[in-house]
């Protein structure tokens, strides 16, 4: 599967900004068998980065234990309407994707 769609929402709260990001990814553990009984090879996101106006604020390493079609929520200090949030990921096959949203 190629890098699927991502969706993000960044909403200003009282003194913080909530960022919720959805990504389409199989997150295969390497232990699941397909319909023919063959093991599906490991395929999962390993790195995830959250940037605010170009500056990295969260740097994550994750494993195949994160559920399929991952959903992450992060909380940023302060923030202002219009701040540019960018989230990108890289998986163990070298595939990657990223998405951007302005704080609303």
């Amino acid at each position: 599967m190629a890098a699927g769609p991502m969706k993000m929402r960044a909403i200003l709260g009282a003194g913080f900004t909530d960022v919720r990001v959805l990504m389409n990814h199989p997150m295969e553990t390497g232990q699941r068998k397909d319909a023919e009984g063959k093991l599906v090879p490991m395929h999962f996101i390993q790195n995830l980065t959250v940037k605010v106006n170009g500056k990295t604020v969260v740097d994550a390493q994750i494993s195949q234990a994160v559920s399929r079609n991952p959903v992450f929520s992060f909380r940023l200090k302060g923030g202002a309407k219009g701040d540019k949030i960018e989230v990108s990921w890289l998986d163990n096959h070298g595939e990657s994707n990223s998405t951007e949203a302005a704080v609303a």
């Binding site: 190629a2 997150m27 500056k55 969260v58 390493q61 959903v71 929520s73 992060f74 070298g94």
Partner: protein, 145 residues
């Protein structure tokens, strides 16, 4: 997707992703560890102090191990990382989040659990580690047919 776009995406992946990869290497040793102890060793963590300022919000019972929602946070001043270990998973280390200035030590994520297990969350602050655990029971849902 047409060929040109695919080629462009591939080129972009090469140029843009490299610095990302260099920036946040994936800790193969820790993530490949098959016991919680080895996973922590892989992260260079020798010991951690139990703390009720590290919080794990997760259901006591999950109807499906494929999706267990967990919300983790730390109230310890100067927290720079949160680490999630699912003790009984084949590869216990699930995630490590490093927070730079600008982010609060808070994450909500869905994880997979192979069976009923303790979830352990460690917070790093000032080079020290603090931890909390919570048991989640994994049950069967639906008609099972």
């Amino acid at each position: 997707m047409n060929r040109l776009r695919r080629a462009l995406v591939a080129a972009l992946a090469l140029t843009l992703v490299r610095p990302l990869a260099a920036l946040a290497a994936w800790n193969k040793e820790a993530f490949g560890a098959k016991s919680p102890g080895d996973a922590l060793k892989g992260l260079g963590i020798a010991n951690a102090t139990a703390s009720n300022e590290v919080t794990i919000d997760a259901p006591q019972i999950a109807e499906n191990g494929a999706v267990v929602p967990v919300e983790i946070s730390s109230a310890i001043a100067g927290t720079t990382a949160l680490i999630v270990v699912i003790e009984k998973n084949p590869f216990p280390l699930a995630a490590r989040f490093d927070f730079k200035d600008g982010a609060l030590p808070f994450v909500k994520v869905n994880v997979k659990m192979g069976e009923t297990s303790d979830i352990r969350v460690l917070a790093e602050a000032g080079g020290k580690y603090y931890s909390a655990t919570k048991e989640v029971k994994v049950t069967i849902g639906g008609c099972g047919g």
